[in-house]
Subunit: 210 residues, 2 copies
């Protein structure tokens, strides 16, 4: 999927001119590479520009600052995650299949776009309000969709269902992240189904009394 991962931070030809929108997309792509590799702080605007085969001021003609550039990318991926999760839950009416589909969604999410999921799950900028807000909100949304279903089918209070939802989504996130770094140990289908089985056994027909 990468054409070059060699030593030199490989500046591109540096001669091409692009229309505004195409350049913007390319800058986003270059920025994603650099942010994912190094995190926000270690990423230099110079390197992003170089990676796109362009000089720094061009970057600032498209984005007002480093933070805004980062947020633009982050928004893309949190939305992607939430949508995948929503679609998985809506894909069937049977809860067992819903669980499977949702784990599938998380495993898919961490498999796409290089390692873009790191922007959401491993951001080194969570201490900055707008970033924290986006990340927490997106996970919260996923958890709420899950907990709504839990609450329908069990006698749990709202608070209990929320906690369960957060835990399940967290399990999906963490296991998917672990799996993706250990490619080769287990095929994707098997990993998804293993975790889905664990979750489904845990949550199905959750007892109403302690």
């Amino acid at each position: 999927m990468e054409t070059r991962v060699t030593a030199t931070p490989d500046a591109k030809p540096r001669g091409t001119r692009l229309p505004r929108l195409a350049r913007r997309r390319q800058l986003l792509s270059a920025a994603q590479e650099v942010f994912v590799e190094n995190g926000y702080h270690a990423a230099a605007m110079d390197e992003i520009a170089d990676r796109a085969g362009v000089s720094k001021p061009v970057l600032y003609q498209h984005f007002p600052g480093k933070l805004e550039l980062y947020l633009a990318l982050l928004d893309l991926h949190v939305d992607d995650m939430v949508n995948r999760c929503r679609e998985a839950l809506a894909s069937t009416q049977e809860n067992k299949l819903r669980v499977q589909a949702t784990f599938g969604a998380f495993f898919d999410f961490v498999s796409t776009q290089g390692e873009a999921f790191r922007l959401v799950f491993e951001s080194d900028l969570r201490n900055v309000a707008p970033v924290r807000q986006r990340v927490e909100r997106s996970l919260q949304e996923c958890a709420e969709m899950v907990s709504a279903l839990i609450q329908e089918d069990t006698g749990c209070t709202s608070d209990e269902a929320h906690l369960l939802g957060v835990g399940l989504v967290g399990m999906a996130e963490v296991s998917a992240r672990y799996w993706v770094t250990k490619h080769g140990s287990i095929p994707k289908d098997a990993a998804e189904q293993l975790m889905a089985r664990l979750a489904w056994r845990g949550i199905s027909g959750f007892p109403r009394t302690a």
Copy 2:
């Protein structure tokens, strides 16, 4: 739990002299406050010194640099977490109780020392090798202790047991972190037991065949 959260970063008396070891402990404590509040990058050595009622060079007489100071704290807390987890798993021979105890361990861990768990779970320095290594290694250790037990009692392969272990530990981490930020919604005991029940239902007598 905080005595002061006012505007001024409250420098202490600034006159007291302390023996070397006591000063070191106090510096660690001040550093922990600042790192937890702001993360690594937004934490200034000046503020840590101020917070301890001391000037910056003193800090550098105790720690060679900012990173080493951070690592000293991080080591403390990853070890704490692993030990709690180990003790929980060793506290009984019955697996159901082990699950309960382990969730208890994670909920305890996030409840102690201000919010020191953020250093482990939300470090904004995971892209730096020594930090990443410590964090991942500690979670890996917890997961391996869990997966060893899983492998004993199920027909899972080693890879499968590892994935399950990581998922369960991840669920404990995420749910504990969520619970601690929502103090008041559910009492600690209830939250622990709810999650433990979810996990135990999921993992107990895990089927040997797909």
